[in-house]
């Protein structure tokens, strides 16, 4: 079971700045454990964000993204009270969606 994301969305200019902190191991599949066995890859593969249900961003992620990733983007036209939702899917097929209100 994945831990919740932390999403902050703040109006700025004609839009909103969204800051997202995700909780994920982001294993590359290149590391070995103490016994010398390869730790299997486990990372986010797809990220998407939606403004009031309409997709505004999609991204494909891989092993080069750090553990507990932080991402920031600007959504044009977002107003205070709008709903921003962010989702990710990882290579295990696990998915998580969290929502925040633009302040």
């Amino acid at each position: 079971m994945s831990d919740p994301m932390r999403i902050r969305a703040q109006t700025q200019g004609g839009g909103a700045v969204v800051r997202v902190l995700m909780s994920h191991e982001m294993e590359t599949g290149l590391r070995k454990d103490a016994a010398g066995k390869t730790i299997p890859a486990w990372h986010i593969t797809e990220v998407s964000a939606a403004l009031n249900g309409k997709t505004v961003l999609t991204a494909q992620w891989g092993t080069a993204i750090a553990k507990n990733p932080f991402t920031e983007f600007v959504v044009k036209g977002a107003k205070a009270g709008d709903k921003i939702s962010v989702s990710w899917v990882d290579n295990h097929g696990d998915r998580r969606t969290d929502e925040a209100t633009v302040a």
Partner: protein
């Protein structure tokens, strides 16, 4: 254009560079930390810790909301900046980690000795780290205000001072060998001078912290454990009196400094 005017323009151009370059490696690291601080993953531990604080867990299926961190049962705000302190119920001076252990044992029925013997980052230690992050975060921006009213608290300060200056081990190191004067560093990490108040958000006021290099949250107990590893001393016991004494010493030395914990470290 006169020579003088040109000189003024040149000087102005030199004074306002488009991007401030890092002056020294220490400035570079400070810049890097400032960039990271906006998305400090310690927040994830804080959120998890808050859930754990309120969640009914353990053999007794109880939450920690009845836990007294020194400001009354269930009061979290402002508790961190007054620890370590003397607790009448356990009859000892306790830091945050040892107090949380006591609460987990008393309220929730966990085996405190077993958790203390667990390696960092395993089992209940993971939950303890999250709780530490949550409690510390509730006092962010507050000033350290440790009590030295009880004789046991003064005794702990004296003991901590002696441990801090005690030299030993294969390297003949003490804490003061690295933390005894300003401007020392290990590789590129500046070391705070802990023989006096190092100031706001430095030293004792910066831990617990998220370590970017390991992607883990370290409490003061783990910080001290690693300091002792670097000194090639035997590892101190988790939440042992020696570590609490050092915490008391650093906390009292840093009296009045603003806590920024949980902070972010390389």
């Amino acid at each position: 254009m006169t020579r003088h005017a040109l000189g003024v323009m040149l000087a102005a151009a030199l004074l306002v560079p488009a991007v401030a370059p890092a002056q020294t490696s220490a400035d570079g690291i400070a810049q890097y930390r400032a960039l990271l601080a906006d998305g400090n993953p310690a927040e994830l531990w804080e959120a998890k810790g808050e859930l754990l604080w309120k969640q009914k867990r353990g053999p007794k299926n109880a939450s920690l909301e009845a836990c007294d961190l020194g400001k009354g049962a269930g009061v979290v705000k402002g508790a961190f900046v007054e620890l370590p302190r003397y607790f009448a119920d356990t009859k000892r001076v306790q830091d945050l980690e040892s107090r949380l252990l006591s609460c987990m044992a008393q309220a929730q029925g966990f085996n405190a000795a077993e958790i203390a013997a667990t390696s960092f980052g395993r089992g209940e230690q993971v939950n303890l780290e999250a709780l530490v992050a949550y409690v510390a975060a509730e006092s962010r921006g507050m000033k350290f205000n440790l009590s030295q009213a009880h004789p046991e608290e003064r005794k702990m300060f004296e003991a901590g001072k002696r441990i801090f200056y005690f030299r030993g081990g294969p390297y003949d190191f003490s804490c003061a060998s690295c933390h005894g004067e300003a401007g020392k560093r290990i590789r590129l990490q500046d070391l705070p001078d802990l023989t006096k108040n190092p100031g706001d958000g430095v030293g004792f006021a910066a831990w617990p912290a998220y370590r970017v290099s390991s992607g883990e949250l370290w409490g003061m107990q783990r910080r001290l454990n690693d300091c002792y590893r670097q000194q090639r001393f035997p590892f101190p016991g988790y939440a042992s009196d020696a570590t609490i004494a050092l915490g008391t010493f650093m906390g009292v030395q840093g009296q009045g400094a603003v806590s920024i914990a949980p902070s972010i470290k390389r």
